[in-house]
Structure formats: structure tokens, C-alpha cells
């Protein structure tokens, strides 16, 4: 039973991706290669790009650039967003002061920040990191905030009945209780940040995966565009998988549930 379950866990995604590539291949047979290149063409292009340099940077280098922007922004979003969000959920006064601001900021897509970010920080690294940061920051705050709001009051009461101080209630009960929603926030923030970096790199960048896509467009090479898109997908899902792994380490009590 466990073996077949484990087998399923490996086979199912392989099969579904194989079917997807197969369908893509079938469609590409019936249209021109300029409209949709075949999976094989994209793979070949990927191998070619892997060995060549694109504007002086290798493919791995471009991925590295994007990743470093994302990770800096993501780190800043956690360091700043997490405490603000948690405190917003904990303190009614702070919530009343701060939450209206984020209610207004939330619906603004991070991409809408691109022009103002470039105006403020120029076209260099600063504006790209800023855009990724904005996306991740708002998500981080809202998830930490909601998680804190929905901490089971029974657990807080249990701590209170032992005479726990407000600080002890916060550290020993509230924070661990909202770990799952913090992690959901971290997951979303990271994928949002990864989406934003590509948008940011499409505007005036010389490195990064977003730049590869723009370069593909400028060179009129759809297979290069698709290589960029496939890389985005793969890296994004690897990042998510890494976070899930960390979550399992940090929240062992949830292991039985998921």
C-alpha cells in the first residue's frame, strides 16, 4: 500500500507532464514553427543557449541574476513584513492604524510599481529588487496578519490559565499557532516575487531570465522565448518544493496531516 502510494507520487507527475508535452508536440506539428516551436526545438535551443553566452552571460548566470534579485527582495519582505503582519494581528490598536494602508496597497499589482520604481531607483538593480519586494511584502504581511487573527482563542486561554504573560502568550502560543499560515504566506510571497522579477527584467535589463524572453522576442526566435518560459516554470516549482521541505522540517506536527 505505502509502496504503491509512493510509486503513484512519482509516476503521476511524470505521466501528466508527458501528456502535456505530447499535446504540445501534436499542436506544434500542425502549425508553423514561428507560431509554436515543437518541444524538441525548444530543447535543442535550450541546449544551445546553455553552451552559448547571451549578451555576455551564460544561461546559468542569467538564472543566478534573477534568483539573487528574488532572494534579496524575498528576504527583505520576510524580515520587514513578518513582524508587521504578526503585530497587526496581535494588537488591535496597531491593526486599526496600519491595516487600512495595506487594504489600499493590496489591490495594486506589483507591475504597476515599475514606472515609479524606475523613476525613484533608476533602471539598475534597485528598482528590480524593489518591485519583487513590493509583491512579496504585501502578501507576507497579509498572511501573517490573517494567521494571527485566526489563532484559536482556546489555546490562548489555556496559556492564560497558567498565568502566562502577554509576551509568553505571543511567543509560546500565538507564533507557533500561525506557523502554517506564515508558511502559506512565505510560499505565495516567493512565487509572487519570482513572477515579479521577470516582469521587472523585461524593462531595461541586461541579465536575467526575463531578459532572455525579451531577447528572444527581439531576435524573433519563439523557441528562445519558450526556453525562458520553461526555465521560469522549472525554477519556480523547485523553489516551492524547497519551501515545502523546509516547512516539513519546521512544522513536524503537520507531517501527519499533509
Amino acid at each position: 500500500m505505502t509502496l504503491s502510494k509512493r510509486g503513484m507520487a512519482i509516476i503521476a507527475p511524470v505521466v501528466s507532464i508527458a501528456i502535456f508535452i505530447l499535446l504540445w508536440g501534436l499542436v506544434s506539428l500542425n502549425v508553423s514553427a514561428d507560431f509554436l516551436p515543437s518541444p524538441l526545438a525548444v530543447l535543442k535551443e535550450g541546449i544551445r543557449l546553455f553552451h552559448a553566452k547571451i549578451s555576455g552571460t551564460s544561461l546559468i548566470g542569467h538564472i543566478g541574476w534573477s534568483l539573487s534579485r528574488v532572494l534579496i527582495a524575498f528576504g527583505l519582505a520576510i524580515v520587514l513584513g513578518l513582524p508587521i503582519g504578526l503585530y497587526m494581528g496581535w494588537s488591535r490598536v496597531f491593526e486599526k492604524i496600519v491595516s487600512p494602508i495595506f487594504e489600499v496597497l493590496r489591490p495594486i499589482p506589483p507591475i504597476a510599481w515599475i514606472p515609479i520604481a524606475i523613476l525613484w531607483l533608476g533602471v539598475a538593480e534597485g528598482s528590480k529588487i524593489f518591485i519583487c519586494f513590493v509583491g512579496a511584502f504585501v502578501i507576507m504581511i497579509l498572511n501573517a496578519y490573517t494567521g494571527m487573527r485566526y489563532v484559536d482563542p482556546l489555546l490562548i486561554d489555556a496559556a492564560k490559565s497558567f498565568g502566562a504573560t502577554r509576551t509568553q502568550q505571543f511567543i509560546n502560543v500565538a507564533i507557533p499557532a500561525c506557523m502554517p499560515s506564515i508558511f502559506a504566506g512565505v510560499q505565495n510571497a516567493l512565487s509572487m516575487s519570482w513572477m515579479c522579477v521577470l516582469a521587472a527584467e523585461m524593462v531595461g535589463a541586461r541579465q536575467g531570465v526575463g531578459f532572455i524572453i525579451i531577447q528572444g522576442m527581439d531576435l524573433n526566435k519563439p523557441s528562445m522565448i519558450l526556453v525562458g518560459m520553461v526555465i521560469i516554470g522549472i525554477v519556480g516549482s523547485l523553489l516551492a518544493a524547497a519551501l515545502r521541505w523546509i516547512e516539513r522540517l519546521l512544522c513536524p506536527w503537520r507531517r501527519e496531516l499533509v
Binding site: L154, L155, D157, A158, A159, K160, S161, F162, G163, A164, T165, Q168, N172, V173, P176, A177, M179, C251, P252, W253, E256, L257
Partner: protein
């Protein structure tokens, strides 16, 4: 007839908790009306009352979760304060902490009270034996059955050697078989540790089974209608004629219709 030995009962015992003129209003709504009673040291006190009579408010006042409007609650002659006194609380819903293992759940209250580590370990080992969860010490609450989970909570609360253990219908959500089992277990732990327990329930049979003394509350605004001493030998039997007599008497007195 049943309350005749009340005076003798109270004289033979030492007062642990003293509730004087306890009154609680929510705005204009008077919920608790001038309640006076004592809880004796090492006593098993059951409190029964009709639904909505203010039982939970009453307990929340005792545990000092909510401010009282008037009156005083003294533990060993001092005003009750969760930071000084050990007042433990078993809630209606099972409140085991999901991210802590069985043993860490038992440690939880002891850590909050900042007891020395070696004392914590001694008590954890003792409680694991008392509730019979030694084998499951590294399990998380979700991996346990409902009754085992409630035992974790009970162990966590008994571990702090409570001056007063408040139990708010702790077995209300469990099925009959588990309830009987946990009632017996509670009796055993209570005898072994000599704790003072105030057990709130709407189940009269449960109250008669457990209690040395039963407080019957009146409908809102809540006052104490009557105190009943239950001096049946233990283990008690539900079909014992004396048991049935007391049960019927309490049922008669509790009626609010």
C-alpha cells in the same frame, strides 16, 4: 434530609477557595447574583445548573479570565491571581496544543510558570505514568484519539499541582464509554494527588458519580440554590438505590420549567 450533614462536613475541612458576594453584570444584564461559597482543600466539588444559567461566566470569574463586577475570590486567604496561584482549567473543547508532543504539552504549563528544569522533568515523568501515556510521549495530539487527547490536557493541568482545578464540562463531547472511563481516571488521579477540583457539568449522573458535594445553581441571574453532600462509598454504582435517590433529588431541584 440530604443536606443535614452540611455543617459537620464544612467543619471537618479546611477552606481553600472562598467566594464572597460574587456578582457579575454584562451591562444591565445580571448574570451572577451575590454568590457565596467555599471550596475545601482536596475537595471534589461538582457544580450543576440549568443550561444558560451562567455556568461558564461563573467559571471564567473563578479563573479570572474576566473581571468581576463585585465581590471577591480568595485562594488561601489572598485574592485569586493566576500569576501567584496555580489555577488550572480544563475546557469543554480539547485544548491540547497541536504543535507540542504529549510530553511537551505536559511541560507547557510548567515552563510558563518557569519551574526549574529538573523539577519539570520529575513531574512530567510522574504525570506520564499517572495518565498512562508514557508509550505515546513523543506523539503529537493529532495522532491520538479524543480521549487520549483529553488525558493529555488533564495531565498538563494536574502537573502544575493546582491550588484549584476548574473543569468545564470536560467530557461533554465524548461518548458514554469514554466518559465513564475518564471519570474513573479522574477519580484515581484526584485521590492520588489530593487536588482541589471544581467540576462543572450539566450531566447530573456524572455529578453524583464524582462529587463529594454538589452545588446546584439557579437559572439566571445565577445564585446557589442548594448544596448537596454525596457521601456514598466509592466506587459508586449507577444502579445503587441511594445513588438513584440522590440523582432524582438533584434533578428535581434543578428543574427550571
Amino acid at each position: 434530609m440530604l443536606t443535614g450533614n452540611l455543617k459537620e462536613y464544612s467543619e471537618s475541612r479546611e477552606v481553600k477557595v472562598s467566594v464572597k458576594n460574587l456578582t457579575k453584570c454584562y451591562g444591565d444584564l445580571l448574570v451572577l447574583n451575590d454568590i457565596n461559597f467555599d471550596i475545601y482543600k482536596g475537595e471534589m466539588l461538582c457544580i450543576v445548573g440549568p443550561t444558560g444559567c451562567g455556568k461558564t461566566t461563573f467559571l471564567n470569574c473563578l479563573s479570572r479570565f474576566i473581571p468581576i463586577t463585585n465581590g471577591s475570590i480568595l485562594v488561601d486567604g489572598e485574592p485569586a491571581d493566576p500569576k501567584i496561584h496555580n489555577i488550572a482549567f480544563v475546557f469543554q473543547e480539547v485544548s491540547a496544543i497541536p504543535w507540542l508532543t504529549v510530553e511537551d504539552n505536559i511541560r507547557f504549563g510548567l515552563r510558563i510558570k518557569r519551574l526549574p528544569e529538573d523539577e519539570i522533568e520529575t513531574r512530567v515523568e510522574k504525570m506520564l505514568d499517572i495518565v498512562g501515556l508514557r508509550k505515546y510521549r513523543t506523539y503529537f495530539p493529532q495522532q491520538l484519539s479524543a480521549s487520549m487527547e483529553q488525558r493529555v490536557v488533564i495531565a498538563r493541568n494536574f502537573a502544575i499541582n493546582p491550588d484549584l482545578l476548574l473543569m468545564d464540562e470536560p467530557y461533554g463531547q465524548l461518548d458514554v464509554k469514554l466518559r465513564y472511563y475518564l471519570e474513573d481516571e479522574l477519580m484515581r488521579i484526584w485521590k492520588e494527588l489530593g487536588s482541589t477540583v471544581a467540576f462543572i457539568t450539566h450531566n447530573i449522573e456524572e455529578a453524583v458519580y464524582l462529587a463529594e458535594r454538589i452545588l446546584i445553581l439557579s437559572p439566571k441571574p445565577c445564585t446557589i440554590r442548594e448544596e448537596v453532600i454525596v457521601d456514598l462509598p466509592r466506587p459508586r454504582r449507577y444502579d445503587d438505590p441511594e445513588f438513584v435517590k440522590i440523582r432524582d433529588y438533584v434533578t428535581e431541584r434543578i428543574k427550571w420549567w
